[in-house]
Structure formats: C-alpha cells, structure tokens
Amino acid sequence: MIRYLGQRFLTMLVTLAIVSALVFWIINLPPGDYLSNQIAELRAQGEAASIEQAEFLRQQYSLDQPLWKQYFIWLGAMPGPDGYTGLLQGDFGWSFEFDQPVKDVLGEALWLTCLVNLAALLFIYIVSLPLGAIAAVRAGSWLDYLIAIIGYIGLATPNFLLALILLYYGQIYLDLPVGGLMDPSFEGEPLSWAKVKSVLAHLIVPTIVIGTAGTAAMIRRLRANLLDELGKPYVVTAKAKGLSATKRVVKYPLRAALNPFVADIGNLLPSLVSGSVLVSVVLSLPTLGPALLTALRTQDQYLAGFILLFVSALTLIGMLVSDILLAILDPRIRFGGRGK
C-alpha cells in the first residue's frame, strides 16, 4: 500500500514537471512577450526613457534569454539575474500587468479558489450520490424521470445565467449576499469567526452554480453504473442470504458503483476550475479565473504560468486523492498482486 502511494506520488511529480514545461512553452507560443509588446508600443509613441526601463526589466526577468533557459530560470533550476530564484525556491515571479509580484497579485485568491472548488466538489458528491442511487434503484419510476429532468435542466442551463438568476432571487427571498466571496469589510482582515461566516454565506450561490452541471452528469453516471451492478449475480446472493433491500443495495452494488464515481474526482477538478472562470467574472469572485483571463490576454507570462501550473497541481492532487480512495475502496487494486 505504501509502495503504491509512493509510486503514485512519484508519477505525479514527473507529470507536474512535464506539465510545467508544456505550460511554459504554450504561453510563449505567440510571438513576443509582454515587455517587447510594451516596448514596441512605447517606441511608437517615442518615449525613450520608458523604453530603457522596459529593456532593463527584460533583462531583469531574463526575457532576452532563449526559451529553455527562461524555463529553467522560472523553475528555479538555474540562477536568474539579480537574485531571481524561481518557483522551486518559492519565488513566483513578477506580474508585468499588475506591476506587482505574482504572490501579491493572487494572494487570497489561491485559497479562495481551492475553497470554492472544494465546496463545489462536495456539493456534487453529496447531491448526486443519493439522487443517482435512488434513480437507479427506482429505474423507470416517476422519481427516476423527475431526477433525470432536473439533471438535464442543470446540464443545459448556462452557468452564468443560472448565476444571475440565483443571485437575484437569492437576494430577494433569502437575503443572500450579492457577489464576492466575503463582505468587503473583511477583505485583507485576519481570519475571524465573523469572516468565516461571511465567506460561507457568500459561498452558497457559487457552489450551486458551479456544481450543478457536474452534479447532473454525475447522477447519470452513478445511475448507469449502479443499474449495471444491480443485475449482477452477487446481488442475488446477498438476497439469498436474507439481507434487507436497503442494506443489500448499499453494501454490495453501490460499493461497486462508487469506483468510477470516485475515479472522477481528478476529471472533475479541471472542468470545475475552467468552468468557473466565467461564473467568477459574473459573480465577481476573487478567484484565479479573472486573473488568468487577464494574464493570458496580455501575455503576462509569469502570472499565467503560475496560475496554470497551480490548476494542474490541483488536478493532479485530485487524481492522487481518487487513486488513494480507489485503493481503499477496491481490494482488487490493493491486493492485485498478493498471494498468487
């Protein structure tokens, strides 16, 4: 088991390294960089002094170096000019667009992104597990169809539209706060109980909005898996033992149907993160989404690179978690090589 985990962890690190190279390469695919674009612009306006400053910055951040060197400097595997140490040393680089270190630009957004997506993930699982199970066990009944209809509506409604609707009615009828992830008075404040409460209240709408599509898909998937499992002979065996109906379903087929369900954590995370960009803009959530959008548009390479890498890391962690859960859930994975 420990060996299995160690192996998975190693694979994850290797993948992350490859992803970082890919991300860096893709960001740099368009010609030029943020500063050379700026220099061209300044030159057109004839501002010599600013050009000098930009040239200085180019050197400072080694944008004049070949791409592979830039990559290793960014990674922190090679010393950069003027003590720029790179990712591995915890220096995320400089955002040209915001004229701030990347760390300060993102700040709380990192953790709020994690929070919003984790909440959405939990929402998906908590809602789809019972609904999917009921839909499968009562397949063909009005309950099954009702769940299917709700699911399809969730799948078909554009997220931002749902966000606006929920925002409006949530505010009118339930007195839910509008926009943001906390009351403005708490921004930048140290963690306190009041702040946590404010964040939780602000989380409700984004969680539902981001989670709905995933929930609908998950319900369908669980229903299909469970339906398959319900017809297996071991369910009849359980019945022949005298197990009651609920226990019979929960203990045997549901357990088997959970496998693909759990394996999906890794797939869900990236779609959640990218799907939530638009929602974040609409709900003005201080997550990574809007920052990523700006960074990509302006070729702010360190900011964009870091965000993409962070999201990839999140995905890989999700995969690792699902691998661990799978190994715990399924003895065939755990003991595949035992005792033959």
């Binding site: 002979p233 022949a240 065939r332 090589g337």
Partner: protein, 596 residues
Amino acid sequence: MSEPILSVSDLAICFGRGRSENEVVSGVSLSLHAGKTLALVGESGSGKTITGRAMMGLLPAKARITRGQINYTPPGGKTENLVDASTRRLRALRGCEIGMIFQEPMSSLSPFHTIGAQVKEGLLLHGEKDDRTARERCIETFEKVGFPDPNRAYDAYPFELSGGMRQRAMIAMATICRPAVLIADEPTTALDVTTQALILDLIQKRQEETGMAVLLITHDLGVVSNIADNITVLRKGRVMEAGTARDLLTDPRHPYLKRLIDAAPDVDVSAAHNPTPSSDFIVEARNVSKTFTSRGRGLFGVGSEKIHALRDVDLTIPRGETVALVGESGSGKSTLANVVLHATKPDAGASLTYHCEDTGKALNIPELSGTELTRFRREVQVVFQDPYASLSPRMTVQDILAEPLAIHNVCDVAERRDRSAAMLKRVGLDPSHLGRFPHAFSGGQRQRISIARALMLQPKLLICDEPTSALDVSVQAQVLELLDELREEFNLSYLFISHDLAVVSRLADEIAVMCRGAIVEQAPARALFENPSHPYTKALMAAAPDPHPDHKLDLNAIALGAGARPEEWPAPYRYDRANPAPLREVDPRHFVRMTA
C-alpha cells in the same frame, strides 16, 4: 415416506403481463425430503432455475407466481405457504433455513469483501450477535468444506481463490446456518471435471452432516446419477417424468428423457478411431513454447513472473484427421491453438510448419506475412466456443457468411449469396433464414452458423475451440455429428480442443492430454481409451460423470491426478515443474510423460 420439508404443487410462473404474458413454468409439482437429493433436470429454457428461485422468493422483478403453492414445513414446525409469505418472513428464511448455491462462483461473490465477511454475514443476519463466535463458526465451516488454510481463506478476497475454492466458499456461505433445504443451481457447470467431482462429493458430505434436503438443478445427467435420490425432468416448464433416480436412469419411459440419456457423451472404446500412421502432416509443431511475463508491480515491472503457458509441445496433425487437445482450464490448449493460428507468437526456438497441399510449400507459421499469410488465413479457420459472443448481433446471417468471401475477394456478390445459401443448407438450417439476425437462433443453430462461416472459404484446417461446451447435451451431440460429416465431405483436418474426453471420443483420431502447458499423454484415440496410463488422464476419465447409476465417480482415481500439480503425482509420473519429465513411448505411438 416421511413428510416432505418443502413441497411445490401445481406451480405456474409467468413473465410479463396482459398480452405479452408468457408462462415459463406450468403446473410443476415436486417435493424435497430431509437428507435426500432431488435433481431438477432440464435443458436451458426449461424453467428449472426459475422454479428453484421461486422457492426462495428470488424471482426476477418481471416474473410472478400465478398459481400453485410452495409449502414449507420446518422440522417439528407448522406448514406455511411461501407464495403468500411476507417479505420479512422470506428474509428470515433465506440463508437461514433455505440456502442457495449459484452457478458462477466468481460473479456470485462480491469482489469488495473478504470471503470471511461474506460468509459470516449470514450468521450475523440470523441471530448470531457476537462477532468473534461468528468468526469461529465461519472458520470451522471453512475447515469442513475443505479449505487447506481456513484462517487465510477468511481474509482472502474471491479473486485470490481458484474456481473450485470459490465454489467451496459459496457452499460454506449457503450452509453455515445449517439450513433445512439447500438449492444448488448448476453448482458445478462452470468448473473443470475433476473439480466438479470434488465439489459434488463435498455437497454430499455436507448433506450427511446437516441432514438437509438438496434440490440440485442441472442439465447433466452424469452429475445427477452420482448424487440424486430422485429426479424430476422438466421441459418447457412442464414436468415430463418424475421418480427415483435409479428407475428413471435405467428405465426411462418418456422419449425426452431417453433422448437426454442417449445424448449424454460417454466413451465407447470400440467406436474410438485407430488411425493408420501417416506422414503427410498439414501442421507440424516441434518444440513450441510460449512464456508469458506477468506484469510485475512497479514502474519498471519489478518482480515480474514468468508463466509457461506452453512447454516444448510437439504436435503433428495428419492431413484429413482429427487431433484432439484435451485438458482443463489453464492447461495451455487454447494458447497452442492461437500459436497454430498465427495469432500468438511462440518463443524463439519453435518450429511450426504448415504444409500447403496445393502449392506443396512448407510455410513457417510464425514468420508468415503478405500473400502467404492471406493464403494461410483462407486455409485455416476457427470455430469458437461461445456462439452468442462470436457472431456480430448487428449483421444478418447473409452478411456474416458472405464477409469472409468479401474479405478475400473470392467471387461476385450474386455468387456469394448462392454460396451462403448452400452452406446454410448444408449445416442443417433453412436458407430462407439468411436475412435474419443471430439473436433469432438458438445456441445450437448459432453454432451451426459459426461452422458455416468457417467453411465458406473452403479451408483445409479447422480449429474447433470447445465448440460444444456452451451447448445443451442433446444439441452437443448433433453438432458433433455435423462436424464429423463435414470433415469427410470437405476433406478437412481438425484441431479439436475440449475439456471433456468423452466429447472427443468419437471424433478424434489422435488425442493429446495437456496439463500445465505440457502434453502428459498422447496416443491414437483407441489406444488412449483402452489403456490410459497417466494419472491425470485417468483422473479426467474418472471424473467424467456417467448417467448410469452403477457407474459412480471414482474419487480416489480423481484425487491421484486432480489439482494438476505434477509434484503431487505418484512416481514415476511425478516431476518438478522447473524440470519436466520427458515423454516416453510406452507402446507404439503412445507417449506418456514420466521419468524412467
């Protein structure tokens, strides 16, 4: 006779409702007595499984009981009709007073729970409160059903056990609460013959210990004659004949039962072929080995294991004759067929030659490519085991039969159609059915279609991989007969693979018995049946159940060769697997693997 524990009277079961209502069981009556075994015999679709399920209230959702009674009288208790019993009452009976064993031990056990947890569950559901006592009783039962290491079995998962051991676990599960009635639904059909004999013996032993009544659902009269006291024969949901096993098997009255008994494969030594030696071989295999490397754990496959699927196999198929490969699952017979088919590459050092009659060329099978391979493919065809899985459900019979002709671009479309019709007629089906899809045919008819497809290209060699083991016995006999006729007519050579010596006894000219990737005995059919020498061959022959009630299984002979463990065979046949004994010629053309 004493009062029956369970008696079914005039039971009728329907699928569907209203117009689509379909009665699958019509007025079945039978009764089970303590300590006795009743065999419910019938072919697939006869309603025997549904009848068994009904007794436990385990009918599928679409089926319902429309008439009749299932009366259960526990020892010293009051009679109750299980048809009217509440769900709660049925639940209390299931697993506690009525136990059930199923056909497929792998899929009938949950892969997510240990054997111990699954067996123990029955105890805990029916009164046992203390987990530790339950565990102890569980391990005690494991000992009784013959687990060599009960403690280890308790913590094992189903996929870590062999098929026979899984079925033992199922028996432990069904009998741990000492039920008054045990329903065994084809408990040995999925097992090898030698394992089948041991499991049948075990069921009988459990019955002696607990005094339970057993309902054995089976299609195999050989199994029936070995363990049943009484027989009820079902056909299309109706009872054809019922009585004591001895009476029915020795003096069947109903023509259906007579047919079943006649169809049961048995070895007729005098009918076995005794071919004259020939040196015109269509396939010549020398030193064929195949080693699979199991995927080791870890990124770089550390700890990978070598599995010898084939070991220095020498086999020749004389032109126009049938060579049978017989062995249990895992013996390597299908691997050998794949190697001959150019589907699997043998290990280096093998010499595998196909002698083409028309061109007179000797082709090296593993190295075939290009036009020679195409030609080889045309001349060597296969019939697979499962006619349900080997025919595409989306193609009509016409398309299935014409496809090989189209692939090899043999003739124009009109002629393809004519040839398909002629071939369908030849295998005994109506040519007007060419436009139908495979699902419209029964298992036996589908296998006929498979055979027709294999013959469309007028092959020279036909490889039959267990062509009848998915079929009912009466159908099996007809398909075997068809294959025999076709061989003469089309001048074919057969490589016939089977796990059952009796199946090949009338067809084969030469028989090679395989075990653990090696041929352990090889001889002309007659010589092999007259004088089987190797303990494994003897075990296979002894384990094949015979419908005659006086020919019971010889468990001692089975035990000597069963388990397929060369280290445990008696001398001089014993050998270390790393260092196999050589094949020795004990009689002319009769080879046995033995030391000295």
